[in-house]
């Protein structure tokens, strides 16, 4: 616990220092990176050592404002969520060393380092919070500091809009969360976490739903995700990496934490989470297919992955409620492992996206292309990330999805409620397929083929600090994918906190995971051998080079390449009722057609629905009420009289 606190202090110092040293740009950045790294590794050590040798009662608390208490507690769940925080955050800081390269913006950069440090610390505090007030406090600081990071580039109008949306969702979500706390307090009469499980069941459900609204809006659960595709593209890439990789997981953390604290009995909890997960998962990835801005796409893909995580958690909750221990254990384990995995590959992808935008000057994938040749490290690491996020073996995304599948299949065995697990399996399969199409689109259009614009052609490899971060993350993807055993072990240690999951013998999943590992190794082995064979087959043979065969077309141009839009169009069209795409086509006229255009724009259904059905009517009513204050003093006096009369009559 002391090591952990020490690490937080170090990170905070690393954030405060730049505020005073911003005049020396490079020194400031280097100092911040080093101190953050030291702090994070200390923290990582603390979290890991706790997971390996758990300490009883790792609690610390300070009295606050006479009546309250700031209480922190390290437990397995907290330690588990600390790992991505302390792993991704220093890498993001390292990445920003070369990403933040405008010396003129030195002061602004210093401020962004400060808020990053605050964000890291607040996330860490959130995971270890041991009463509702501490949780709320850390939650709000987290929202606030990330807001400042999002509006870093406030000159840009889009950024301001994104910041605004994020701000509203953050605050509204927080208020829902507070309402959930309030419901709990109204039953238990205390702000501490201890006696929450003693609440009556119906109140538990209300508290859970309220908390889910608040936490889910941070996590990006489908209809509450609206801020996400705006905020992630607007923020600088290291920030999006942290936000998408780590921060939105805090919403997931909250959901698990409150679920475990409430320890509810009904199946409804699992059902809610599962349905939310399916909607987020499928629609998230469909929208990701529909958008063609690299960071916006990644943001929607986060919605999808949150969906997958929720599927895992939902299975877990359903398993607990129905007494199906295998489903419970594997569901939770899969969900949690996916949290970890997603934090790795999503940060990796955002960093890759960042270096593309940095060097090619645009994030629109239809203006990119051919970057694999000019930016080999970024390209290769991005490819690793893309395969991982599609959940394909032998990378890490597959391991967690496998566990969720496994849990879901075991859910089928249970007689009555097999429909939801079955839908979960089908959703996972569809999500997997769609994710693969989405990321083949991203990799294929942005990194492969020929550059579509001048800028893309001129792009060059990014700075060494950025490359190191990406390579580390890409390697982690492979390591977790090929040797998942220790990670799965950790996850099951966390899950074993559940009484029902403890009945699953550890040998079951150790065997499973070893088999996955075996398949991965086998695959890599066979792949290696085949590649050697292929090399042998090619040795001494003519290897000609030439242009791509254009199927008889004599004057191919780079503009003829398939774009992301055309690639995704038919799939997006398949989901038409749930996704709205506007097509503008100028048509072909005359015998020898001139220039013609075709544009398609996908707008978020949830966004427009909330706008149309909630915001607009409310605003309409509010606008109608504006005559109240219309300047006439006589009317104002009449209000007073009216108030008196009403009060006297209502007495």
């Amino acid at each position: 616990m002391d090591t952990y606190l020490f690490s937080l202090v170090v990170i905070l110092v690393g954030g405060i220092l730049p505020l005073f040293t911003y005049k020396k740009f490079t020194v400031m950045k280097a100092a911040c990176v080093i101190i953050t790294a030291i702090g994070s590794f200390t923290g990582l050590y603390a979290a890991l050592s706790f997971l390996i040798h758990p300490v009883e009662n790792a609690v610390i608390s300070w009295p606050w404002l006479h009546h309250f208490e700031i209480a922190l507690q390290m437990d397995a769940m907290a330690a588990f969520f600390l790992i991505p925080i302390f792993f991704i955050c220093p890498l993001a800081t390292l990445y920003s060393f070369h990403y933040m390269h405008h010396e003129k913006q030195s002061g602004k950069t210093a401020i962004s380092y400060f808020f990053s440090a605050v964000l890291f610390v607040s996330m860490a505090l959130l995971t270890t919070a041991n009463n509702m007030l501490t949780f709320a406090l850390a939650w709000e600081i987290m929202s606030l500091s990330s807001f400042f990071l999002v509006v870093f580039d406030f000159r840009n109008k889009e950024t301001r809009k994104a910041g605004y949306l994020y701000f509203i969702f953050a605050q509204a979500g927080a208020l829902f969360l507070f309402a959930a706390f309030a419901v709990i307090y109204s039953q238990t009469g205390t702000l501490s976490f201890d006696s929450i499980s003693a609440m009556p069941e119906n109140m538990k459900l209300i508290a859970f739903v309220l908390a889910f609204m608040g936490l889910g809006s941070k996590a990006g659960v489908f209809p509450l995700h609206i801020w996400l595709p705006h905020a992630h593209p607007a923020a600088p890439s290291p920030v999006s990496a942290v936000m998408s990789g780590v921060m939105i997981k805090m919403g997931i953390f909250g959901i698990i934490r409150f679920y475990m604290l409430l320890a509810p009995a009904g199946e409804i909890y699992g059902q809610i989470i599962l349905v939310a997960g399916m909607i987020s998962g499928i629609l998230g990835v469909v929208y990701a297919l529909g958008v063609h801005d690299i960071k916006r796409l990644l943001a929607y893909s986060s919605v999808e992955n949150i969906g997958i995580i929720l599927l895992g958690l939902g299975l877990g909750m359903l398993g607990v409620a129905t007494g199906n221990s295998t489903m419970a254990a594997f569901g939770f384990a899969g969900g949690l492992l996916h949290v970890f995995n997603h934090s790795i590959f999503k940060s990796l992808l955002f960093m890759g996206a960042g270096s593309v935008i940095h060097k090619a000057g645009t994030g629109k994938i239809n203006e990119l292309g051919g970057l694999m040749k000019t930016m080999p490290v970024t390209g290769k690491t991005f490819l690793v990330g893309a395969v991982s996020i599609s959940g394909l073996p032998p990378f890490n995304g597959f391991v967690s999805e496998f566990l969720i599948y496994y849990g879901a299949f075991y859910g089928l065995a249970h007689g009555s409620s097999f429909l939801l697990p079955m839908l979960t399996i089908i959703s996972l399969a569809v999500i997997g397929g769609l994710a693969a199409s989405c990321f083949t689109k991203l990799v294929g259009v942005a990194f492969l083929g020929e550059p579509r614009t001048e800028n893309a052609a001129k792009a060059s490899e990014c700075g060494i600090a950025m490359r190191i971060s990406m390579v580390v993350l890409a390697l982690s993807c492979i390591v977790v994918g090929v040797f998942p055993e220790p990670f799965v072990h950790i996850v099951f240690r966390v899950v074993s906190g559940l009484p029902i999951a403890a009945t699953v013998s550890p040998t079951v999943f150790i065997d499973l995971v070893r088999n996955i590992s075996l398949v991965a190794v086998l695959f890599l082995g066979i792949l290696g051998i085949t590649m050697l064979l292929r090399k042998g087959l090619y040795s001494g043979k003519p290897m000609a080079k030439g242009p791509t065969w254009g199927c008889g077309f004599t004057q191919p141009t780079v503009r003829m390449q398939y774009t992301g839009t055309s690639y995704a169009m038919s799939i997006v069209g398949f989901f038409r009722p749930f996704i709205h795409s506007e097509n503008v086509y100028s048509g072909i006229q005359k015998i020898f057609p001139g220039k013609t255009t075709y544009k398609t724009k996908v707008s978020d259904r949830a966004e427009s629905a909330i706008l149309e059905t909630v915001v607009k009517p409310v605003f309409w009513v509010l606008d109608k009420l504006r005559w109240i204050q219309h300047g006439e003093i006589q009317l104002y006096i009449a209000y007073i009289v009216l108030a008196i009369v009403i009060l006297l009559l209502a007495q």
């Binding site: 709320a136 929202s143 606030l144 301001r160 509204a172 208020l175 507070f178 409310v618 008196i644 009060l647």
Partner: protein
């Protein structure tokens, strides 16, 4: 003799009106410092009122007095620098009225006698009217007219209300001095019908002054048209004084066993105020009016919190303190912005981080604070009110409360972000300077400090204040 706390500023105020401006400025600082000193001595228990039939050191009063004194001190410093940049037609009168304003507000804080309280509150209206009037624009005239008219009507009704309370005392056959302290002890034997009527009138009357909807109509006008130091005083301090009047009567109602009635009335007014504020903050074009409406909202929150009672009343008291600190800070920053851009229109202000970096920082921090984010204290108070309201079972009320908070936050953050980050064609007329940023910064810092560490004396005072309406933890 604690009465010096209002006698002294009164005296200095009257004197400076007849002296040249530079003496007035010195007098302002001296009076503010003396006031702060006296207040602190009062807090330490070294001073107590002599005329006990009229004045007392009630905990809620002392709380308001401290807040008043502290904020006034900082506003006085700001005013010095502000006056250098603006031309008021009659500066000595302005400064004199500020001091008289301080005097009357201190009197409100200490007043224990029903009629003295009323007189003091009425006096605050009268001495603050010139503060608004002195900008001499047509709009300022209009604002002053509305301010004086509406508040006078309200206060007249409050007098009637006070009279009804006295009547209830007569009908109940109670013979005690007309002070809240003594009335509270015999509250049970007061005639309930007339007490209730009295509460209604006093509530409406002081509620007008406090800015509760639908009697709030003067507030956005007055707060937007007054010179910024005066707006800060009006919003940050005066509203508390009016609240004190409402609170004292509510206490009486609680003690008389009519607490549930007055609580419901307070909650109703509170929610209505928040909603009305939400209606008008959206698409507001004038940022000082926006701040004015935000004051209405926050008064609504306080009224709601007090109405809910229990934990929420502690939240409401905290909210009172922090709202004063943050809102005055915001008005002072708004003053800087107005000096710099020469306009009160949201759409004409922009690019603040490059034009006014310090003011931007303080202004935005203030906005963050007023929206209830940590590390500012309003975070805690809002959480406590929400929690308290659920505890008390007001589910619909708190649902509406949260709806209003979201609405107002969404509306206000749009305006504030427009102001801070938007584009502008205006150029800066007056550069910011430290003297005008430091006070607002200090006010915010105080809010942060109070959220981290609260002196035991302050905590006990709040506890004592809410103990009278049965507010306590775990309530």
């Amino acid at each position: 003799m604690l009465e010096h706390v209002f006698l002294l500023p009164f005296l200095i105020g009257v004197i400076v009106m007849f002296l040249p401006a530079q003496y007035g400025r010195a007098g302002l600082i001296i009076a503010a410092a003396l006031h702060l000193g006296l207040t602190l001595m009062g807090w330490m228990g070294k001073l107590s009122p002599v005329t006990t039939g009229y004045f007392s050191t009630a905990p809620e009063g002392m709380l308001v007095l401290l807040v008043t004194s502290f904020i006034f001190m900082l506003i006085a410093i700001y005013t010095l620098s502000y006056l250098r940049e603006t031309e008021l037609r009659n500066e000595p009168v302005f400064i004199g009225c500020m001091l008289l304003f301080l005097a009357t507000m201190s009197m409100v804080a200490l007043a224990d006698h029903i009629i003295v309280l009323w007189v003091a509150i009425e006096a605050t209206t009268l001495v603050s009217a010139p503060l608004i009037l002195l900008s001499h624009s047509k709009a300022a005239l209009e604002a002053t007219w509305k301010y004086v008219m509406i508040c006078s009507v309200g206060i007249a009704l409050a007098l009637l209300g006070s009279f009804f309370i006295v009547l209830s005392m007569d009908l109940g056959g109670v013979r005690v001095p007309l002070t809240f302290t003594s009335l509270n002890t015999v509250a049970k034997s007061l005639d309930p019908v007339w007490l209730k009527a009295g509460f209604i009138f006093v509530m409406i009357g002081y509620g007008t002054k406090m800015g509760l909807a639908p009697m709030h109509t003067w507030l956005p006008d007055a707060h937007s048209q007054a010179p910024s130091p005066a707006s800060a005083l009006l919003s940050g301090v005066l509203l508390n004084c009016a609240f004190l009047g409402v609170y004292k009567v509510h206490t009486l109602m609680v003690n008389a066993g009519l607490g549930s009635y007055s609580s419901n009335v307070l909650m109703g007014f509170g929610l209505l105020s928040m909603f009305i504020a939400g209606v008008f903050i959206r698409n507001q074009h004038d940022y000082k009016r926006m701040l004015g409406y935000s004051s209405i909202e926050n008064m609504g929150i306080i009224a709601f919190g007090i109405g809910v009672g229990g934990l929420a009343s502690y939240g409401a008291m905290l909210h009172l303190i922090h709202h004063s600190l943050i809102k005055s800070s915001l008005f002072l920053s708004a003053g800087n912005i107005m000096l710099a851009y020469g306009t009160k229109l949201v759409n004409k202000v922009g690019k603040m981080p490059s034009f006014l970096p310090k003011t931007f920082g303080v202004f935005f921090a203030g906005f963050v604070g007023i929206s209830g984010f940590p590390p500012f204290g309003m975070f805690l108070s809002e959480v406590l009110i929400i929690i308290g309201a659920f505890r008390a079972g007001h589910y619909w009320g708190i649902g509406f409360f949260i709806f209003c908070l979201i609405l107002i936050f969404a509306a206000a953050s749009r305006l504030v972000m427009r102001m801070c980050f938007g584009d502008t064609e205006e150029t800066i007329q007056v550069e910011e300077n430290l003297m005008r940023v430091a006070p607002s910064f200090l006010l915010l810092l105080t809010s942060i400090v109070l959220c981290v560490w609260m002196p035991a004396a302050l905590y006990d005072t709040i506890q004592n204040a809410i103990a009278m309406i049965g507010g306590a933890f775990n309530g």
